[in-house]
């Protein structure tokens, strides 16, 4: 099931735009800073390993009892993904994805990378690397 390219990862039978906030039990807050560009990746303690080559059936162990949306996030993030990519590829609202990823991070199942903006904005060294990269495109 879970594929590196973010292919089919589950079937949730989601039927409306309202229900996603029921998944978060109405919560909108989160722990780590989760900007749209924040990168996240499933930690390799999750079944299937980090490379997505051996993804198990969802009933395996840690994933047992997860909502389909959570299983989908765990599967998709076997590759490194941004929060916005998770939202777009799974067709889930940004706010819902933030809460679910925040939960997974709190449970130690997903790793959250720092962004250049976390420490009050991109620093000079990063800006110079960006400039060099853009000029070489």
């Amino acid at each position: 099931m879970a594929a590196e390219d973010g292919g089919r990862v589950g079937n949730a039978g989601r039927s409306s735009r309202v229900r996603p906030y029921a998944m978060t039990r109405g919560r909108t807050g989160h722990g780590p800073i989760l900007s749209v560009e924040t990168l996240v990746t499933t930690l390799d303690c999750e079944p299937g390993g980090p490379d997505g080559s051996n993804a198990p059936e969802p009933a395996a162990d840690a994933a047992d009892g997860d909502m389909p949306e959570v299983r989908a996030i765990v599967a998709l993030c076997r590759g490194v993904r941004s929060v916005a990519e998770v939202s777009a590829l799974l067709d889930l609202p940004l706010g819902v994805v933030r809460v679910l990823i925040g939960d997974l991070a709190a449970q130690g199942r997903i790793s959250v990378y720092q962004t250049a903006g976390d420490a009050g904005g991109p620093d000079r060294a990063l800006l110079e690397r960006l400039l060099g990269g853009l000029r070489k495109l």
Binding site: E4, D5, G6, G7, R8, V9, G10, N11, G13, R14, R17, V18, P20, S35, V36, E37, T38, L39, T41, T42, L43, P50, A72, L76, R78, G79, V80, R81, S82, A84, E85, S87, A88, L89, L90, D91, P93, L94, G95, S111, Y113, Q114, T115, A116, G117, D118, G121, P122, R124, L126, L127, E128, R129, L130, L131, G133, L134, R135, K136, L137
Partner: protein, 208 residues
């Protein structure tokens, strides 16, 4: 409904980096973003598409807003749920450096969403169509207020009138320190140069 990209024909590979190393805690990859703004139909998504290594994606936020018109007898505004879409792209500049490009969603009444978007951003590019100059005013006003470094880029559409820089600066009421450039959003080199201008301006602002 299936989760994943297959049902929409999108093939978006994950970033080619190793998973986080929990032993030393050093993040092996850094992400950052530049915001692409301007009026409706001015070429925001075109610019993102020109530079992005992936087909641009759309992320949606569900918002509860006050409806503009109301006929309630108690005079209280109705709350309505609305979905605001935001297009974005991605460009990997080095093994450990990824730049995301986000188009600002909606106009006017959805500007409160921009606060979340611009937080931590390198800067912004405001695209201008010289046939509809006034449509970029809300974006320019917003970035002037927010303090985010931004450049104004005249999107050189075929057949659009060409003006002198001084006249454009005057028409846009640009501050002297705000860079004004020309850009063909359809052209990868030109679009990348516009983004480089944003970074250069951010460096200048940081230097003070």
């Amino acid at each position: 409904m299936d989760y994943g990209s297959s049902d929409r024909g999108l093939h978006v590979p994950p970033l080619a980096v190793p998973p986080a190393r929990r032993d030393d805690g050093a993040p092996p990859i850094t992400s950052t973003k530049i915001v692409v703004s301007g009026g409706f139909g001015v070429g925001k998504t075109t610019l993102v598409t020109s530079v992005s290594e992936i087909e641009p994606l759309t992320t949606e936020s569900v918002m509860t807003v006050m409806s503009e018109a109301t006929d309630r007898l108690d005079g209280l505004p109705d709350k309505v749920t609305t979905t605001v879409a935001m297009d974005f792209g991605r460009v990997t500049l080095a093994d450990d450096l990824v730049l995301y490009l986000f188009g600002t969603p909606g106009q006017g009444r959805f500007q409160f969403m921009w606060d979340d978007l611009v937080r931590g951003a390198v800067g912004a590019v405001v695209l201008v169509d010289t046939r509809r100059v006034e449509e970029c005013f809300p974006a320019i006003d917003y970035f002037e207020r927010s303090g985010l470094p931004f450049v104004v880029a005249i999107n050189t559409f075929d057949g659009a009138p060409i003006y002198q820089d001084a006249d454009l600066r005057d028409a846009l009421s640009l501050r002297p320190q705000t860079p004004l450039i020309a850009c063909d959003a359809r052209d990868r080199r030109s679009a990348a140069d516009a983004l480089a201008s944003v970074v250069m301006h951010a460096l200048q602002v940081a230097t003070g």
